[in-house]
Symmetry: C4
Subunit: 284 residues, 4 copies
């Protein structure tokens, strides 16, 4: 069972009544009804996100604006009903409402209502895409969740190193950006220190938009230094994460293969298919 499913299982109402049956359909994917519900849900989410995207394309909105408006409200009302049903059938309402999926489920319907007051906010509906993460539960992609957990644990283990690295990068871009502001000045596009810091980030991360480029010889020389630094220090986060992923992968592999421990000499490096200890020759 993935950790993700367990969280929900904890919230299942006791006994065998309409609430627990509804819970099985909406929150679980083990019954045919539950699976069908989830498939229809994901299809609805993807369709509704597609509608939001198309609504932002001017030519499409001019041609099919009314249709898209109706689709948006249709899905919003559908997801609102779903949210109410979810609230009804969980044992602990606060727990669901405060969980990651509970918050995302609410955020996925708010923008449409909000757009009645604040026009334009309906585009925030794309947050619905996060709901699709449920797909991992339906498809029983437990193995993918395990891999994701391995990656997250590797990132967490390297969190402090990454923080130190990001802190160094931020200090670097503040100082380099300000130097470029003093060197190049407003007449060459470096209109302010925040703008110059933005340039330093664009250059150090090797993005290189090219909307602001140094013009003075000193500025060009300094920008070359920034690029070489950026090109070199990318090795640092990569090295950190690679080392952690290697460790996590090694541990995962070792955990999978049980080793034979010799009771006589205590050697725990015997292969799993060994019949005799490779150090003392005693039968295992």
């Amino acid at each position: 069972m993935a950790a993700n499913e367990d969280k929900y299982s904890d919230n299942k109402p006791d006994g065998d009544n309409w609430r627990s049956r509804l819970y099985e359909i909406i929150f679980e994917a083990d019954t045919p009804a539950g699976k069908n519900f989830d498939i229809i849900l994901i299809a609805s989410i993807l369709l509704s996100v597609l509608a939001v995207m198309l609504d932002s394309v001017k030519s499409f909105r001019l041609a099919h604006g009314d249709l898209l408006y109706n689709i948006e409200w249709f899905f919003t009302i559908l997801f609102s009903i779903e949210y109410i049903l979810r609230m009804l059938c969980v044992k602990n309402k606060t727990k669901y409402a405060g969980s990651l999926f509970g918050i995302v489920d609410l955020l996925a319907i708010m923008p449409t209502y909000l757009s009645l007051i604040l026009p334009g906010s309906q585009f925030l509906l794309v947050i619905r895409i996060l709901r699709v993460l449920r797909i991992f539960r339906i498809l029983k992609l437990v193995k993918y969740l395990n891999e994701a957990e391995l990656l997250i644990s590797a990132l967490k283990a390297s969190g402090r190193k990454i923080t130190v690295f990001l802190f160094t990068v931020l200090t670097l871009v503040v100082i380099l950006g300000s130097m470029m502001y003093v060197i190049e000045g407003e007449e060459n596009g470096f209109t302010s220190i925040p703008m110059s810091i933005h340039w330093a980030i664009v250059t150090l991360t090797t993005v290189g938009y090219g909307d602001i480029v140094p013009k003075t010889p000193l500025g060009i020389a300094l920008s070359s230094v920034v690029m070489i630094i950026g090109y070199s220090i990318i090795a640092v986060p990569t090295g950190i994460v690679t080392a952690e992923i290697s460790f996590a992968s090694i541990e995962e592999r070792e955990n999978k293969m049980p080793k034979n421990i010799c009771k006589h000499c205590g050697n725990d490096k015997n292969d799993s298919d060994a019949l005799f200890c490779k150090h003392c020759g005693i039968k295992l």
Copy 2:
């Protein structure tokens, strides 16, 4: 023998007749005739791809259009005859037609015929470049194929982790792109959500075309965050693939190392530091 060659060998007609002799020339590279055929074939492929490329250069097409047209038809007819001969001499026609090289061989002649109906489609002839992959067979570059297999197996082993990573990146660019659309709006070049998602991909992958750049202070701040994220998370796929390639290389090296062979039971899987055979317990 590389896996690649074996697939073909399975399809060789029985007996010693014109079909099996033709098969040896066209599909194999062990006889002088077979080797010469392959060398001429690769030269033809490269020449024909070069002709397609030059045909797309306007100044060249205006000057030598007729010549290029003739070259194109010459090679297409040549490759068509070759395809028919291949079909004739294989034992199992469906197997060849359905194989990767069978499909590529067909795709390499289709665009010229198609261009009679759909002008412009002849440029798809560059797909012929895939036929050059046969070069590995001629030059007996089995070692290169082994390295390629090691890389492919490393990528396969990290496939699930890469999928999780790509899924995360796609979710990220959809949400970040939509936020930028709301923040910057159409007047600053972020004309629609799909366009803004494109911008998010351009920025996150550190490509940075610079055709669309944020103008508002909030947009500039968010884009800086996107760049730092993109600069940092590239460490994740790199870490995944590096770990897998390391494992694959370690295994490859260990396979090359001489193992302790037991004189008593013949077990050749003992570790290099083993003192006793792990299968029969006899001192090595």
Copy 3:
């Protein structure tokens, strides 16, 4: 205790007088007064850096120029007093003035005074951001300092390899840049060899501003080669740093692991798989 704090402790005046009490407040963070002083200091630094940044934004400067001018002088005088107090309470004045933090503390007040003679130099005040590094001391982020030291030692260990790499890159961009200058010439934007070397750095590091792009067929072909080289050799610094970080992490982990301690001779450096003490030969 972090190495950082020890350096300061060495400079504490002897006895219990106003100087040692002032030292505790200004340099240490163990007493409530010391902690409060540091928190106020960091808040002042961040506010003053923010003021410098806003001062560089034209619209903001026109609206609130006088206010920002006053804030700048207020913080400069405040930090000047702080610097004098620091000088007063340390045992060895030369040692503090010559230390990294001593130099940064002085540089953080100089630009304002300098701006009376050289207008514009006040923007160099952002160097104050370096003072924020003290934050690690206040928050007792010793673990972060350890991680930083691990990273620095990994970078130092790979210093010679990185030097060789940078030397190769510099030689490469000088030669490639000059070739592009000869090929493309001034009419295509490659106005001089230094400018062309700048282009080579922009391209090799994959920054790609796009302000100068090759126009001639030969230049386009060479630039493609430069890109492929840049895309491939980034693997070299990454590989170097990754290997060193892995070694440093492995050592760190091994140091944490409990070693076999010999009850006979007290040697605590036995490997975890040792059966006999490596110093006295007694069975563990």
Copy 4:
């Protein structure tokens, strides 16, 4: 002694005459005269490269054209005399002339003479920068040469994997570039297949000049795919090189620390400071 120096030592004339003494000064750096010669040589090289660079800057050339012209000829004649002296004092002239440094020494003087016939070719004089590589010999930077050799051997060991990777990348950009040419067409800047392949390289390597960008929805979608591919597959060369550098570093470390092999049980994993075998307890 580095391999680099040995190559030269092999070419030293026998006996103690003016030729062997000249050889010591010009080719070696062990005597004071030899060291001084090398330092003056490197200073001359750097000055002459600087002069070539400044000569390419239009404003500088207009102001000091004659001076630069004289400097150029001064250094060319100086280096020509040096080349003749080198030729005179080596035992085997063909061996020196054919060595890497022999060729570079000749190339470093040719462009000036060539510029009498072909104006503009004097800028190729920057090739002189390669002569500076001698600096490693003077400064006795043997350790740096060792590191360089480690890097080169790691790159060589991964050469076949890198070849397979580059072959895949080239096939990819030919096909993706041609697809973009068909999709976008000449009206959107994709003027020919070679130009579109150039765009594919610019995008895949994450350089992203932005001089050519897709305009059609299909082209934008495909370019997003190219970017994601480029962002992901950079992990492959990095992984390959990292694995090799790790192996090379591990071997280097292990070679430095001699291990104690136990004569009784054959265990070769004892620490270098062990007095007793950790497996059988026998005195080493």
